[in-house]
Amino acid sequence: MVVIETRNVVKRYQTGGETLTALKGIDFAVEPGEFVSIMGPSGSGKTTLLNLLGLLDDPSEGEVLLDGEDVTGLSDKEQTRARKRTIGFVFQNFYLIPTLTARENVEIPALFDRDPTVEDRSVDLLGRMGLGDRLDHRPDQLSGGQKQRVAIARSLINEPRVLLADEPTGNLDRETGRQILEEFAAVTERDVAVIAVTHDELVNEYVDRVVRLVDGYMGEDAPTATGAAGGPSDAVESAVEEVAGGESDESEASASDGDPEGEGS
């Protein structure tokens, strides 16, 4: 059972006269309730992959499947609808709307729905995030960790199947980062898959598996490795590094993590 999947996805960008291939054939699948991190050096295509998974961008080749349904080539309107129904986003910079209260920010994705249960759900979600006493605070009255928890609540308001997080701990100190990761782990208990793109090795203490992207290839598909990609499930298997007991090898991680500053655009 797979909730989101890419099949031989290639993404090329046209920059100036040159063609840049950001993803060179990615096969990747995530099951419900799975917590996966995508790691890799700057420019390895992590964010590009996240955008494709989030239906924010279309692949040049290959397909993206949501619940077994091919969503590539859908119109903007259909993609937006699928995104709203299935996918939640959490960003490094939180991206809360400064003029709205915590509760209003959580309700934003359902703003045009005329759904009377939204208010109850937002209060409930913020309560679960430990922000029951911060409902009517504005973002500038909240700490970084609180903001990120509001953002997680926002991403969950439409009860998505997949939560995509772009550097969710990037702007947080280590302790707050842990709290956020624990929230993600709690989210996966409810069968929501969490895919986090990150430089932060701390994340790997909480994930079920780590996927590494290098130069547009995933895991062992990288040019240094031998053997071509097999079927999609094979590729996913080979790309997986089981992380036992939340422990990770710090030295190896820093070696592969070339540029901790963030992804170049």
Binding site: D76, T80, R85, F89, Y95, T99, L111, N158
Partner: protein, 390 residues
């Protein structure tokens, strides 16, 4: 807002929040619309008030019909024709027939102290005979006798030129007559301005026919109808009378004022155009600043249409606020204009003024909507991937 969003108009709620985020900028943008609305409304009202004032002071212009002998008449209007004119004109109108004769008039003979007057002299001029001058003229000095049997009435210009007043004597065709009244110049144009006239009682004239008949009606429309009726009733195959009326002149004055009004409103529209550009500028700045935020909205499931609605609501909200404030100020401006031109501030609430105020308001909101279209379209069509690339 307690209890979450205003669920009925979420885009308006978002728009209000966004505008209040940059208060000064929003107020300035709305101020542009305020000025534009005031400009259109008050220039329109100004033109209208000017027109009202002029038509008031023109007074009888257009209310009168002048009947003179036609080509086929024997140089005068017969008594029978006069009866027919009275019948056609109806009881509501004033019909004043008069006669005219060219004769020698000598000033400064006899009377009080006019003896050595340098202006004294004699000349040949037209003297008119009117049966009941009290109906159409008022006296500035002296009194118009009723019934009018003797004495002369003179126009103000004649009185001034020869330094004459009531009690002075003039000689007409050799026989001396006393001046009984100096007439009021009358307001404005029309056929009955008596400033250069010398008027005698009708019975001083021989002959039964009249040289002209003046018909005064209550309005220019009635005057026009009367003129048409007179032409068709009195003139059969032969043209017995010539009928003149001023309704075409009144029409063309009205047209001139319409053109003037359009011109003034055109000038006002330019200021609204400037306001539109300023809203365009504000909205574009706002879409650039909120690029990431709009990207997030798109990522969490807002359709392009939803973003478009929010941005357009902002523009329309600016226009509505500007329009309402502008209308309030325009009413004040209208009262000031009416107070100084017509002397009655409450005339600002004439229905035709509200036409201009409504027009200005509509233009104001319309301009805002138009100016918001491009920024809103731009924001809605930004790809979220680009917007979120930080």
């Amino acid at each position: 807002m307690i209890g979450g969003f205003d669920r009925r108009l979420p885009s308006l709620y978002m728009a209000r929040r966004n505008l209040s985020r940059t208060k000064v900028r929003s107020v300035l943008a709305a101020l542009g619309i305020v000025i534009g609305v005031i400009a259109i409304a008050s220039l329109g009202m100004f033109g209208l008030t000017l027109r009202y004032q002029i038509s008031e002071s023109l007074g009888g212009l257009g209310n009168q019909v002048l009947v003179t002998p036609g080509e086929d008449a024997d140089g005068s209007i017969s008594v029978r024709d006069l009866r027919e004119i009275e019948t056609v004109a109806g009881p509501e109108t004033t019909v004043v027939p008069s006669k005219a004769r060219s004769t020698v008039v000598t000033y400064g003979r006899g009377g009080g102290g006019g003896g050595g007057d340098p202006a004294a002299g004699s000349e040949r001029r037209i003297v008119r005979g009117v049966e009941n001058p009290g109906l159409i003229y008022t006296a500035r000095e002296g009194e118009i006798p009723d019934p009018y049997r003797s004495g002369a009435l003179i126009g103000p210009s004649v009185a001034e030129q020869y330094d004459l007043g009531p009690g002075d004597a003039i000689s007409i065709n050799g026989s001396s007559t006393r001046v009984v009244a100096v007439l009021e110049a009358g307001n404005g144009f029309g056929f009955m301005s008596p400033s250069n006239d010398i008027i005698l009682p009708n019975r001083e004239f021989q002959g039964r026919g009249y040289s002209q008949v003046l018909v005064s009606t209550e309005s220019s429309t009635v005057a026009n109808e009367t003129a048409v009726a007179l032409r068709s009733e009195l003139n059969g195959r032969r043209e017995l009378v010539q009928v003149q009326d001023f309704s075409s002149v009144a029409d063309s004055i009205g047209q001139t004022f319409n053109a003037l009004n359009l011109f003034l409103i055109g000038i006002g529209s330019i200021s609204l155009l400037v306001a539109g550009v300023s809203i365009l500028n504000v909205m574009l700045m706002s879409t650039v600043e909120r690029r990431e935020e709009i990207g997030v909205l798109r990522a969490v499931g807002f359709q392009k249409r939803d973003v478009l609605k929010i941005m357009l609501s902002e523009a329309v909200l600016l226009g509505l606020i500007g329009g309402i404030v502008g209308v309030a100020f325009s009413l004040v401006a209208g009262m000031v204009i009416n107070h100084f031109i017509v002397g009655d501030a409450l005339l600002a609430f004439r229905p035709s003024n509200f036409l201009y105020i409504g027009l200005a308001f509509t233009f104001g909101v319309g301009t805002s909507l138009l100016s918001g279209l491009y920024p809103a379209w731009k924001a809605a069509n930004e790809r979220p991937v680009e917007a979120l690339r930080s």
